[in-house]
């Protein structure tokens, strides 16, 4: 499996106190643990992203616990209120312990 590639959409600029919409997507199969291998008939072990966190300058804005019922390539859309310029940090945690991260800057005028 190719390494999951996170993609995030954050507006570059915002006004003070504005509520912005953030969209995130990460390529990941989200193997539910319910599927059977068609050749061997054995269950494919579960491997999903189980936690997502969005931080703004070190403070948690939004986080999400994911279960196997979330679709492959999990998409999340949520909002955040920005009062000053700063950096959003996005973290995805995989069942196998891997952590995928990305950052986006925003300028408040």
């Amino acid at each position: 499996m190719a390494s999951p590639k996170p993609r995030v959409k954050v507006p570059k600029k915002a006004e003070k106190g504005e509520v912005i919409t953030i969209k995130t997507l990460i390529s990941h199969p989200m193997e539910s643990g319910q599927r059977k291998d068609k050749k061997t008939g054995e269950l494919i072990p579960r491997q999903i992203i189980n936690k997502f966190t969005c931080e703004f300058d070190g403070q948690v804005v939004f986080s999400c616990d994911l279960d196997p019922a979330v679709s492959a390539n999990p998409y999340l859309q949520f909002s955040a209120k920005v009062d000053n310029s700063g950096t959003f940090k996005f973290t995805w945690v995989d069942d196998n312990g891997s952590v995928y991260e990305t950052e986006k800057k925003i300028t408040v005028e």
Partner: protein
């Protein structure tokens, strides 16, 4: 009017089929869901309203069903939505996702895409910072299930 043996048999068979299958349809998988709601709210029964689920009426592909949830809240530091639990009562495991908000969220709304095994109810339960809980239920008709394969 006389009732023939054939008619009598048909009526009995119909009634028997109804009694056998009807309860199964109406109570399918709810104990799991109820338990999950109780665990989330700490035993309280959530009130209807305040939360609204945005789901399609018919989902052709159960593998990716867009689901949105919005909670009516001022989202200030002393009155905000702590978390929202999403459940699907007909899935092998009813838990779908839990969103955790903060006062910095600005608005308590989130969207994602989920898997649904069959036609079923999607439930959202919201927990406020003052401990009160609210819920909303929407039925989604699924043409092709999103589990197994």
């Amino acid at each position: 009017m006389t009732i023939t043996r054939r008619q009598a048999l048909a009526v009995t068979a119909g009634a028997a089929a109804f009694l056998t299958f009807a309860p199964r349809i109406s109570f399918a998988a709810t104990p799991d869901t109820d338990a999950a709601i109780k665990e989330f709210t700490g035993g309280a029964t959530p009130t209807e309203g305040t939360v609204s689920l945005d789901t399609p009426e018919i989902a052709e592909n159960g593998n990716t069903v867009p689901v949105g949830v919005t909670v009516d809240s001022p989202m200030t530091s002393d009155n905000y939505v702590e978390s929202v639990l999403i459940l699907a009562d007909g899935n092998p495991n009813p838990a779908v996702a839990t969103f955790h908000f903060s006062a910095m969220s600005g608005a308590a709304e989130a969207k994602t895409r989920i898997r649904l095994a069959k036609t079923q109810n999607v439930i959202a339960v919201a927990k406020m910072s003052d401990g009160s809980t609210f819920m909303d239920t929407k039925e989604v008709k699924v043409t092709i299930g999103g589990c197994g394969g």
